[in-house]
């Protein structure tokens, strides 16, 4: 048996990317060999960039995995030594580091009989079933969070390094990773399997824990879809995509879409700052609906029972979104992706864009009415849909019911990963995830006593006076740009009506704050308030003897007759016109959302624009003198948002943590 000869031959030509390419390769040591005293090798398990891994039995029968390190530089060994006494249920245990008679270094470590995540993914080409994927991910993330808490960056997270042992997720190959990344940078082909999970900044030699977050994002993507977001023919192509391409998130549902988007940010500063924050944005496994997919209990059965495909994971957490809008957005995303992925040079792209623009411009006349018609129909549909849908309380829709997890999952997560802080945060953020759930979100952290509310309200109302005044002034200046200078009584009317409108929003919003009211009732109430504001606006106008002159240059809707009670002989709007315009304007917009203390930002631009546009549309509809209602709308939107209280993200987390602390 010429073991010696074969050894040198193997060492001279290391099997290039044997694991990655899936090609089998021969192992240095045959079954029965005892290179390391006390252990008998039974079979080779696999080969990686660092060396070979064997399954071996100790003399007393303990099953271990032996990892042969080919190039044992002190630096790398120090990395492993740091990890030798780490202890976490989701980490593959390292038992010892030993040297054999030939001077080779062996790492003695836990042997896992179960399948690796790579194998699990291979038998599920379209991704793992939802709860199984989430269970895997939570196990992996728990291990990475632990490593980070010990100041260690894994650096080589990939499905081939992740295993399931009796249902418990085990992450391996930590500590060796520094070695790996060095070998990759020196141009070895051995790390082909690694580049799919490699963060862009690694190219600059930056190895912070953000690269683990990035790899977690890729792994989550692969768990859900069965494929990596950046793939290519060559290492260079994949690296280039990591650096430049955007991941195709179209097949993913929320909250996965936004979580993965954030984890895969090119700029490490924009990613999640910790694994816990990333986990908090995901559904915790025991909130998932019960499904047929459990983590396979046997190590090897997975490959054989692929006949019955469990439901798609990506749809597991359904988010209530308007289907047409969703389709359009997906279409645009796909188009964008194709454009990004298309192998076109810059001049070709420019020419394509120019041709597209030309075609668009030459056809603008026949296309315009069609587009406007479609938009109008869609707008009406959207309005009716939102009215119909909002009459069902949100609690019944967005979130799946909380159910007891299957025992295997329980074992995987709780026996395995005792991370209690993850759950309260997760509850909070999954609530934040759906757009519509924001109403519910108001509930918990901001419940206040009536006294506090009144104090809040008074503060908001006083604050709004200032904001309304300033906004009025700005609008008056802008107005004088467009038409003649605003007259004093007109400005006074604008100020009074704007302030009245703002208060008319602030008061009921404060009343509704923190409750789960039925939106349809709220809309009705808002309409009544709108009518009152309209009445007030009319009488103010009478009192101030104001003439609301219609500004020129606004598109007028096609002429149609309104009843004569609406407008006086000189075109001056009468009470009916005021009531109609203000009532409609108040019923269409969900004003209480702009006063919600948990809105995404204190002052958001788009709601203001939307309010102004809606007001313009409503005014056109009722032939109310143009630009006055939009001006009121702008004042109200800005004043409501600026003057009502807002809880920052940071503050929310603190409140949430505080509350969770009280509960437990």
């Amino acid at each position: 048996m010429d073991l010696e000869g074969r050894n040198t031959a193997e060492f001279a030509s290391p099997p290039a990317g044997s694991l990655a390419s899936g090609r089998p390769a021969r192992f240095v040591y045959p079954s029965g060999a005892r290179p390391l005293a006390g252990y008998t090798i039974k079979r080779g398990i696999g080969q990686g960039g660092f060396g070979e891994i064997y399954f071996a039995l100790s003399d007393s029968g303990k099953e271990v995995a032996l990892k042969l390190i080919r190039r044992n530089l002190d630096v790398e060994l120090r990395g492993i030594r740091h990890c030798l006494n780490l202890n976490h249920p989701n980490l593959l245990s390292l038992y010892d580091i030993r040297q054999d008679d030939r001077g080779d270094t062996w790492v003695v470590m836990e042997y896992v009989a179960g399948e690796s995540l790579e194998e699990a993914l291979r038998s599920h080409a379209d991704g793992l079933p939802g709860e199984v994927a989430v269970a895997w991910f939570h196990g992996i993330a728990a291990a990475v969070a632990y490593l980070h808490s010990r100041g260690i960056v894994h650096r080589d997270l990939k499905p081939g390094n992740i295993f399931s042992s009796e249902g418990v997720v085990k992450v391996g190959d930590y500590g060796l990773s520094k070695f790996l990344s060095c070998s990759r940078r020196s141009g070895h082909t051995e790390s082909v399997g690694t580049v799919h999970y490699m963060a862009p900044e690694v190219a600059n030699g930056r190895y912070g824990k953000e690269i683990d977050i990035y790899a977690l994002g890729i792994i989550l993507y692969e768990l859900l879809t069965g494929r990596v977001p950046f793939d290519g023919e060559s290492v260079g192509e994949v690296l280039m995509k990591h650096l430049t391409a955007l991941p195709d998130l179209a097949p993913l549902a929320e909250p996965y879409r936004s979580v993965i988007a954030k984890a895969l940010e090119k700029d490490p500063e924009k990613r999640y700052r910790s694994v816990d924050l990333m986990l908090a944005a995901l559904p915790s496994p025991n909130r998932m609906p019960p499904g047929s997919g459990r983590l396979p209990s046997g190590g090897f059965s997975a490959g054989n029972d692929s006949g019955a495909r469990p439901p798609q994971p990506v749809t597991a957490v359904a988010v209530d979104e308007e289907p047409i809008w969703l389709a359009v957005r997906d279409g645009v995303a796909r188009l964008h992706h194709t454009w990004q992925a298309a192998n076109l040079s810059t001049p070709v792209r420019v020419v394509l864009i120019l041709v597209g623009l030309f075609v668009l411009l030459t056809n603008v006349v026949p296309l315009m009415p069609i587009v406007i018609g479609l938009l109008a129909v869609y707008g009406a549909y959207r309005l009716i849909r939102s009215l119909v849908l909002s009459s069902t309380p949100p609690r019944d829709r967005g979130l799946p019911p909380a159910v007891a997890p299957p025992p295997e999952l329980e074992a995987m997560l709780h026996g395995a990963a005792p991370t209690p802080p993850a759950r309260p945060i997760a509850r909070h953020s999954s609530r934040r995830a759906g757009h519509r759930e924001s109403e519910q979100a108001v509930a918990a952290p901001v419940v206040k006593s009536p006294r506090e509310r009144v104090a809040d309200l008074l503060a908001s109302m006083l604050g709004s006076v200032l904001v309304v005044g300033v906004t009025c002034l700005v609008l008056a200046l802008l107005h004088s740009f467009h038409a003649e200078t605003m007259r004093l009584e007109q400005a006074a009317w604008l100020l009074t009506v704007g302030l009245a409108g703002t208060w008319a929003v602030l008061i009921p919003s404060k009343l509704w704050e923190g409750t789960d009211g039925e939106p349809i009732l709220r809309r009705f109430a808002m309409m009544v308030i709108g009518l009152v504001v309209g009445l007030f606006a009319f009488h103010t106008g009478q009192f101030l003897l104001v003439h609301l002159a219609p500004a020129a240059g606004f598109p007028m809707p096609p002429a149609y007759e309104l009843p004569s009670g609406f407008y006086g002989a000189d075109g001056r709007p009468l009470l009916m016109a005021y009531l109609a315009a203000f009532g409609t304007f108040f019923v269409v917009i969900r004003w209480w959302r702009q006063a919600d203390p948990l809105r995404p930002a204190r002052l958001r631009f788009w709601p203001v624009i939307l309010c102004v546009l809606v007001a313009g549309f409503v005014a056109g509809l009722w032939r109310f003198p143009q630009a006055w209602l939009p001006m009121v709308a702008a004042i109200m939107a800005i004043a409501v948002q600026l003057s009502s209280p807002w809880i920052s993200r940071h503050e929310r987390r603190r409140l949430e943590g505080h509350r969770a602390g009280q509960v437990h």
């Binding site: 010429d2 089998p24 045959p30 079954s31 029965g32 039974k42 079979r43 009989a113």
Partner: protein
């Protein structure tokens, strides 16, 4: 009686796994407690000799010595086993019995529950006449990365092997052209594979 020397061996396949191969027509499943020497020793809450699986020509039967179920139904004394039968021993040990290849009477036992044999193996093979190792899904041991198939076959308790493609291979370092007799302690190695018999 079922663990006579030569009836059972281990197959260690590099990059694939470890398999216990039983050649006897009847194997006993039970606790690994040394004296009685069961062919399939399972670390589980079982009796010393819990059940026996018997090959009868092309068919397999299971004889219950203690509480045994097939597809959830209690086995009174004896019950047939088909491809895909789920065997439950006692309260919790679950195995799947299957016959990957239609033309071979060789069967395979995999754990469904999280139990293991002692020593641990990836599966138990009940070898009739031949045993296929290769990349095809109907192999008795699926070796995904291989391109060739290795056939183990027997005359009595003597074991032979050959490559499907008639390619040459080595047995303990000696080149073999068509087929070779193999036995315990030998290593079969091809271009892409290495299998040890123990």
């Amino acid at each position: 009686m079922s663990s006579r020397h030569g009836e059972k061996f281990m197959l260690w396949i590099d990059g694939v796994g470890g398999y216990s191969v039983c050649m006897a027509d009847a194997v006993v499943l039970g606790q690994p407690s040394g004296k009685n020497g069961v062919a399939v020793p399972i670390l589980g809450n079982l009796s010393g000799r819990h059940a026996r699986i018997r090959r009868d020509g092309e068919a397999y039967l299971i004889e219950a010595m203690h509480r045994t179920y097939v597809h959830g139904e209690a086995v009174n004394r004896i019950a047939p086993l088909d491809d895909g039968s789920i065997i439950t021993l006692g309260d919790s040990v679950q195995l799947r019995f299957w016959r990957p290849h239609v033309l071979s009477a060789t069967a395979r036992l995999d754990f469904v529950s999280r139990h293991r044999t002692e020593p641990g193996v990836d599966a138990v093979l009940l070898m009739a006449h031949s045993c296929l190792l290769g990349p095809k899904p109907n192999s008795h041991v699926v070796c995904e990365a291989w391109t060739d198939e290795l056939v183990l076959y027997r005359h009595g308790y003597e074991l032979y092997c050959r490559c499907r493609s008639r390619a040459t291979f080595e047995v303990d370092g000696l080149e073999c052209r068509r087929h070779a007799r193999v036995g315990r302690g030998m290593r079969i190695a091809g271009d892409q594979f290495a299998v040890a018999i123990e």
